[in-house]
Subunit: 332 residues, 2 copies
Amino acid sequence: MANINDVAKKAGVSKSTVSNVFNGKKNVSDEIRQKVLKIADDIGYYPNKLASALTTKRTGLTGLFIDNNSKFRYMDYKLIEGVSRELKKSNKHIILYLQAGKSDDDNQIDINNKLISEPIDDAIIVAPMVKDIRINELIDMRKSIVIIGQAPNNSLPKVKCLDVDNIKISYEVTKYLLELGHRKITLINSDPNMTISIDRMKGYLAALKEYNVEFNPEYTFNSDNTEAMGEQLGSRIFKSLDMTAVITSSDEIASGLYNEAKKAGISIPDDISIFALGGTDKKLNPSLCTVYVDYEMLGREAVALLSNKEVIDNQVIDSYKLLISDSIKSIL
Amino acid sequence: MANINDVAKKAGVSKSTVSNVFNGKKNVSDEIRQKVLKIADDIGYYPNKLASALTTKRTGLTGLFIDNNSKFRYMDYKLIEGVSRELKKSNKHIILYLQAGKSDDDNQIDINNKLISEPIDDAIIVAPMVKDIRINELIDMRKSIVIIGQAPNNSLPKVKCLDVDNIKISYEVTKYLLELGHRKITLINSDPNMTISIDRMKGYLAALKEYNVEFNPEYTFNSDNTEAMGEQLGSRIFKSLDMTAVITSSDEIASGLYNEAKKAGISIPDDISIFALGGTDKKLNPSLCTVYVDYEMLGREAVALLSNKEVIDNQVIDSYKLLISDSIKSIL
DNA sequence: CTGTTAGCGCATTCAT
DNA sequence: ATGAATGCGCTAACAG
């Protein structure tokens, strides 16, 4: 494989001139530039990115960090797509790291998973843990970082975050149901300690207040977003509560409710309306009212944020849409 | 950022000893090994991958090449997942290249898209073009390559290929319909020049022959796998042909047929059975009979093949399943 | 506008 | 078992 010296020698110029040519530096005469380019092409020379990265400290690679614990979700796929397409615009590339936010063995960090020497210019972290070792490592490396999802509360220095406005989404979904005449609306939330749950509760409360509906804590639940949990909750609330609508933290929970409703002879949406807060593109019957989030766009925005020098505390992106469908009904 | 010299100096040893320690070389006394490790940990040293790659010629990165012309398909997502998870097992990572197989401007290769200096050890190419410039470049670079999908016919040296057995799939689908009593079965194929179309035709013919059904060329069509094309074909064949079943080259085509059938008042599966040859995970109503291919597994296999030194001409993987559902009906 | 020199951080001979 | 020297291929700072 030809290197810069071969070209320089054949062209009768110095290495730095060749380097200048390939880096688009202006201080090379047109004549020499052409000559160098011609010879380089002849002998099949092209600068070695590894070598140049060693001095420039730039690889043109951005790390996308996805938790390794479960299969990729719809969101992961779309983020990968958005990030890689956006990087492509500036001839950069994505490298995927499937790395858990906490070490498997909590006491000892796997030395092979140390990020310190990874050949990336910057990093995007998807849905980090509350105490995420990757973030600290990355900060130590002085990489610029963008987090997609909630910032870990302990986040020492300010880290740029990108997320959808969960308060607003929850508010709008609740309001939508209220406008259809629903007053007894159950909210199935995620883990109560997660910021997203708190946000969703805020939006829910805000909408209720706006419609002068008194908040009843008996109408709120928490879940782990599995279908099984949806079934479990369904079997419980369908019997004990007389709500007319349910907002679920995810499509999976909704799916569990569907199963349980069928078993109990409850009709959706005739007996009960269900509005999910998104998560997958799973199809249900009757088709589920849910929230579509443009994760691909979130990915693109994350890339844009990486090179944004301003210190931004927490960027909120409005890239969602309520998908109105057959699982809700007006009761006016 | 600490480097190997810092460690060597503090430990009172030479750089090469430090190097030996981190590369697991045996010729270092335990005493010194511990000392070096301790000091490295203290000052936060870890070998720089860029620098070591410069001499070892190995980056631990595998390129996955996906065509950039359209949005990612279901297949792409699953391949990304399979490849990256398999690489992860050996502490390697995936870097995504969204690069068209042919240069946008056919006469002139974009110098920025040259692969020659990319920091990858090997490459996996998804569904290459017939004349794919990326493959030639990669071969010039002496990278090991695995192709997922059909090998380009012109493929100069032998390149490892990985694909599902399209003949067999098509054969089994056709047979399935034949066993349900169907005799007039339309086959909507992809581009007639693509190997996959030829294979599917082979399987189709084989099954027909086995059941002594004479082949009628009027019952075969070609498509570009868009939903629009499905509608177009539907409007044509629903009127003119009296087939009882249709095999479509993709779920999208099937979706087009669904639309057109609805418009024409044709019931699926009562009037006509539809069996798709896979492609997406789009849900239709009535739910579509289609072929599920385990692309994630294909991705894993591709990674395994990369490090397989044997010269294998064309590896066929049986990782599919017929998904029987509501769009077909027995007419016995 | 061009060339010389000096690293970047490491792995790899080859001595010892 | 350890160390000194050399080179991987390039960019950057400076000198001319």
